[in-house]
Symmetry: D2
Subunit: 343 residues, 4 copies
């Protein structure tokens, strides 16, 4: 992965977030290869290659847009399925509910998030049904128009293909759209080891994350339905997300997707997380399935680790979050693992 990886990582951000990671050398190279005049916006040759790249990846016709953030990707995807007077069933701890500063309310013009429970940040058909059952049919209550899943979840847990299929069946029966927030889709895919089409399942739109996985500022919004993609194009421009030099975003996505780099990088991040989890032992809240490890630690333990130079996020009063990324060095993962074991 290039010489840059040997440089000592900054102590800051080490396990804080995959958002803090660098851009992968092959992504850089692709961006620089795009550095020639081309059509503005998404009329360039690279942007026009996205449909083909994802159609190949998923083995079916896809229509794909880029967007610079996961928040924009999620909200633009949902805006194709949810009217302003409708709602989105999502997990109580989903990124769209917890971490997007109210962006769904903005992009969906006041539509509502309808919160469901579920272990590990994952929805189940029962949890969804329970939310739907609590909504009286009629104009006095906001009705669900869509369901949004997160693969892998905010707790780094992964949906098995049959679990997604069950939720998709429910969505289909109820006439609801189905969206997948795949900010860490690559990590889920690396964990599952099955075909990407199975990792996504039959969703209507997928936010396919690249930024956390070696990209700089590009996410792909993957639609099965070209009409929904067209609708998203109007909304993307209107949201100020149609970059004029979109070719550099397309280049990032293609560099990750076209020859399997996305899976390779995610597998590395997952492996580093597994090393950390090993040291955490029974303190780990879940057996990590992706690149995040949640560890129950008391304040003094957190302080002790930080004193050793490890950076991580205080998730809540009970636990911390440690995230590995594509550029986490094995020696650092092992050091953290050992420090955890020694607590």
């Amino acid at each position: 992965m290039g010489g840059a990886m040997q440089a000592p990582a900054s102590p800051y951000g080490q396990f804080l977030s995959d958002n803090a990671a660098r851009v992968h050398p092959r992504v850089w190279a692709a961006m620089q290869a795009a550095d020639a005049p081309d059509a503005a916006y998404d009329g360039d040759r690279l942007s026009r290659r996205l449909d083909e790249a994802f159609s190949a990846l998923f083995g079916k016709d896809c229509a794909v847009l880029w967007a610079s953030t996961g928040t924009a990707a999620n909200c633009l995807a949902l805006a194709t399925m949810v009217q302003p007077h409708g709602g989105v069933v999502c997990h109580r701890e989903a990124h769209i509910e917890m971490d997007e500063g109210g962006a769904p309310g903005f992009f969906l013009h006041g539509a509502k998030l309808l919160l469901a429970d579920g272990a590990g940040g994952r929805l189940t058909p029962d949890a969804i049904e329970s939310v739907l059952a609590g909504i009286t049919r009629g104009v006095h209550q906001v009705q669900a128009h869509a369901i949004s899943l997160t693969q892998a979840s905010e707790w780094g847990q992964v949906y098995q293909p049959e679990e997604i299929a069950a939720i998709a069946a429910l969505a289909h029966d109820r006439g609801l759209g189905l969206h997948m927030d795949g900010a860490r889709f690559a990590n889920a895919a690396a964990f599952l080891g099955c075909h990407p089409a199975q990792v996504a399942g039959p969703v209507d739109a997928l936010s396919f994350g690249c930024t956390k996985n070696g990209g700089m500022d590009a996410e792909a919004i993957v639609f099965c339905d070209a009409e929904k993609a067209d609708l998203a194009r109007w909304r993307r421009k209107r949201a100020g997300h149609l970059q004029s030099k979109g070719r550099y975003m397309a280049a990032q996505i293609l560099a990750l997707v076209e020859d399997g780099l996305w899976l390779e990088l995610a597998a590395h991040a997952n492996a580093m997380a597994a090393i950390v989890a090993e040291g955490a032992g029974e303190r780990a809240v879940f057996a990590p399935q992706a690149n995040e490890v949640f560890v129950n630690l008391a304040p003094a333990q957190r302080a002790a680790l930080r004193a050793q130079g490890f950076a991580f996020h205080d998730w809540n009063e009970a636990c911390v979050r440690m995230v590995a990324s594509w550029d986490t060095r094995e020696e650092d993962a092992r050091a953290l693992s050992a420090a955890l074991a020694a607590l």
Copy 2:
């Protein structure tokens, strides 16, 4: 990377748009220098340097945010001044009215653009007063909350400092916010040759363009008032424009701004436009003041130029737009100039 500049420019996009231009080598270098783990979002060292850089540039305290597009920059700036039930006085041909796909309606939650006339895409106090006079005071009509100027205008025309001062005085008297769309602020500054503070005048917020001037995907939103900047921060996140690896955007802006590259590149683009305009002679709609030349051409003349490999934009039935950028080669500008003269 300097070598790339010698390469023959693609015939496509040559004079089509400054949006189609490449990223300047020093901008690339700055982005790569930022390629180490740092705090996510805008907590990194580079993003935190923006206030200082622009305060130095303008000689007064500034609070600065990045955004990836001019549309986002304009709309986030306006959202700090305009309530949903208000309006923005702007030129009938302003970018926010003509080219942003309804983004002001989205970001301002349905606020209205109140259209004024003016030669060369420029507003005058009289034109603004005329719009205001046509609005009956009271809840039945949308009242103006702000004025938006474009420096340089959509027709490549530049406001003189005293013209901006007059409009600012009007805005101040009426209690209206004042915004400047500076997608081509650098070109205006290069034309005027005066201090940046005079090019901007006493506006409340300035969209300072970088993308068209050697950047990749970064614009600066410059506020005089830290409270307005804080407000814009909430709105930026909510609009999905808070990139997680914001340091790469900050790097672009700083590379352009901190040592004068922005002015140098704009001066080059302006000079290239002047060469083109020379050939256009009396066919030029205006004497170009920035990097755009509008030329009255009949369809057959347009076809003749295109047959020679020149690319440009059909502005309307009467004229075409030819835009020079930081990487326009003098030989290409001279070739186009000669071709125009030979028509």
Copy 3:
């Protein structure tokens, strides 16, 4: 029309607006007949009779909602046809553009009004085509999703059935929705003297005004398409327009519509306006076709009339607006007519 009509009219509001008129005695009677407990919202027997009443009136299946204002009726109707990123072609002087305080921007979530010209406040296919031709196809410009006509127009002018048919054909060809603001639909119908279905033409939604025509606070939104009506029901509740005692609104509408009172009252108002216009002679801006007379008057002339006790609206610098209503007394109309003639 009952003893109340003999009472001397207040000098205030006489010809100021049909909004200032009283509630017709038969409307009062119908409201009081509704004064028994019934289902809340629009589940009562009267609200459920609206579909039938309008289906009978128009000779085809209609689905009808009440709303308390013309602004709400117009905007709820348009919201069924226009997405947030779209636009509505309307006359530059339409009520939705001039007098609704930005309500279309609110109800349509930032969609844009696309302004067309036309004599007498009336659109023509050419004027609409001209607006559409000015919009570049593509995400950079707001595309039209619907057309909105006003029957009778803001200048009291009426569309002939074949004129509406021509605009409807255009809308149909372009895939645009067609809305009619019928705040003074009754006055247009009384003028045309043809079947209500011809007065409305093949529009997708009609705001059928009652408040200006003897009602208290009720307008009907008439849809041909039950699905659009269902959509409007969600939006009506969400806009706080689903009154809990809706039966009193339904009662008003039924009282006007079910036995022809609406036409009778409008015919009276039109006749009173004609009397006024007679006195205005060549000062009348248009031959009045409905209940409004616009008269070119200098400031001194306005003052002279006001000194005689007549109230009217300063429409603009050139002319005033004089509006007759269902309860305008013939002697008052004749007095104003004479005063105008004597100027």
Copy 4:
């Protein structure tokens, strides 16, 4: 019109909702007294008397607007305190969350409801603090801008003056607006028996309900701060809630408020509810403090009561809601009470 009160009430709606009740004869009389031409919108003499009437009622300067529904009143009030990127802390079972079809999302442009728990539908400072403590400061999470209380609550429970004062102190400390949904404010006032100013406490805006308490379609929005009232005026027009014949709404409100009718009617409704509750005995979920009784009833018991002609609302699987109104007859309340006791 007094005679109508003696007529046997329709069995339908008897205890279903106070929304289903009739309009009080004195309200009718006031509306008819308003039936003369006057200024349109809210420029009439009655609308202009509202400030004075409520200033007298509350013993301090008030600025008051009418609106036709509680949903509109609540949302227009909140829109003066909450920016689109903010949130409103309210009870999980508040009307704005449960019964307004997403209206807060619409009027507040996507702002979020932040849900708190609390027995009897009432908030406590602790419950509010707990919600606030769960919100990370910063742009990633929606911050509270206001708190909304319901007096009396959805469960017919009443805040004591000192409880409101404690919440107001918290709001003040945190810089949050404070809104009171007083759809049944009259019933709370009748229960508390103290000065209206104590029933409301130091809230910034109060939705003062009239429709459920003898009105037809009028609620008052009472502001302490004239600037907030002015802001609400713009928003009201924009929401299509500025009725053109507003004098009939003002008449309703004045008839209820100016001579104490509002309290008299609410006291009657409360008394009728108390009679019903007596029969319910230990089945009553709460001791009723206003005009609503919630009774734990099994499906068979519900059916048995309905077979006897009583109408009421299935609140949830455990209990039903029985609502008395100003026109509930004592004999009917006693009959229901007896039927409950006999179960």
